[in-house]
Symmetry: C2
């Protein structure tokens, strides 16, 4: 593990870390913000999964999370969205390949060699953090994400009951099995068997009994992907049918960019903090 950057910011430490990943068989880079409270004891951890085309850097630069995290005493983890480097498979278009790992373990060639982001974010990275950053309180964790990363946050939390006290998402892809981005990615990464897809589809997981302790979702009313790719109504229906509590809001006028994410970041972190501090 190599800390490539360690900068004082809002009273805490903004780290950028690179390490060799066994899951992806590549170097991987993540950012980790440690609030000032981490100097004196354990702090809760919010994991944030990013969207298509992003690296760790997008939310680190534009997410405006540090002020709230420093005030609330939250650590904030931002992994990359795919393996990268020489020999890593890629394809035309930004919705598959580099920057588009979709938080699955690919089973199909050529993707299966490196695109193992599910194992990376659910197993390898938590184990690394537990060893290297003992100030992170594994018993008080939240997860969030944006777009493809909102899909990741929902599915990771649904399949790890008890790991996260609260789950939120900004403009998530809630039913990837049913929308073009998800269908394309899952077909290439997971093959033609749609049953395998449903293990990575939040709506399908909720329909099959998956539950979250607390769920908050915001989407932008002017998001150009709202009806075709995000389809929050499918999540609303599944949660209503299943009795899954959901705080869903359509924020009128907001688009899909980090202007939307940063506008609502403080509200999400406040909401997580109130659940993590219990």
């Amino acid at each position: 593990m190599q800390i490539s950057s360690d900068v004082l910011s809002h009273g805490g430490r903004q780290l950028v870390v690179t390490h060799d990943s066994a899951a992806t068989a590549t170097p991987m880079t993540f950012s980790l913000f440690l609030p000032p409270q981490a100097e004196h004891g354990k702090v809760p951890l919010v994991t944030y999964l990013s969207g298509l085309t992003c690296t760790h850097a997008n939310v680190t630069d534009k997410g405006e999370y540090r002020r709230s995290c420093a005030e609330r005493g939250l650590a904030f983890l931002a992994p990359d969205t795919s393996p990268r480097g020489d020999g890593v498979a890629d394809a035309e278009g930004w919705d598959i390949g580099l920057g588009a790992g979709f938080y699955v373990d690919a089973t199909e060639a050529p993707w299966s060699a490196n695109y193992r982001m599910w194992s990376y974010v659910t197993e390898e990275l938590p184990t690394l953090l537990a060893g290297e950053f003992p100030m992170l309180d594994r018993g008080r964790q939240a997860i969030s994400g944006h777009s493809m990363g909102g899909h990741g946050a929902l599915t990771v939390a649904l399949r790890h009951p008890g790991r996260f006290r609260s789950v939120s998402a900004f403009a998530p892809i809630v039913a990837p099995s049913q929308v073009p981005w998800g269908e394309k990615a899952f077909f290439h990464y997971l093959g033609a068997d749609r049953e395998a897809w449903r293990q990575h589809d939040a709506v399908a997981l909720i329909e099959r009994g998956g539950r979250l302790p607390a769920l908050k979702v915001d989407v932008g009313g002017a998001d150009p992907f709202l009806e075709r790719e995000l389809r929050p109504g499918l999540l609303e229906q599944a949660c209503a049918a299943a009795g899954q509590p959901l705080e869903l809001a359509v924020q009128q006028g907001y688009d899909h960019s980090y202007h939307f994410v940063s506008t609502y970041m403080a509200a999400h972190l406040d909401w997580h903090a109130s659940r993590l501090k219990i």
Copy 2:
């Protein structure tokens, strides 16, 4: 004038605008944040001048000013730091040429053809804004900036008495005539006559009687440029000798990056707001 981006952010509008500049004889791009209060009346304007290597985009992406501006009702203007485009002179190194206009009107070839950032930020851009954005209250203005842009903010304000109610800077170059960055830039842009340099040197201007209504400066204690390029002690001495009020703080542990700027942005905007709302 062309609005190339207009995005809802923190309740206001984040614009990016391109226009043909007569001052620089090039297209110029700036960003302008209009807080929600601008929908209903005039709002004060904070002009922020950026540092070496920056465009309008650095502070727009990383400055974390929108939340405070929306809360306080402040518009926030971020111009570019130099002319750009085909035929615009450049040189080796990032401390002269593109991204390094130093807020002067160059008198020396080849720079004099386009590097007229003084005229651009003090005359042309304010005139454009007055015509195109009548919600900006020209009677309630503040100015700030970072590093080279802190130099720009100080010198623009010192030479336009009465235009700005408050002036602040993050890690400013306070005495460019006396430090390597400034000496190199002024020699190339303004020639060998050091008297011309002093018209663009905040410490020299204060020593000659220039005054500011209110001045707040923060510098990072771990800024690698502190002793060689920034030299806040020279500003402190000049202000003390002249009776110029100065709120100067060395923020221990902070570097020269946008982590420093964004950490203290809210405090600067609060400080400006308290003076602009009088």
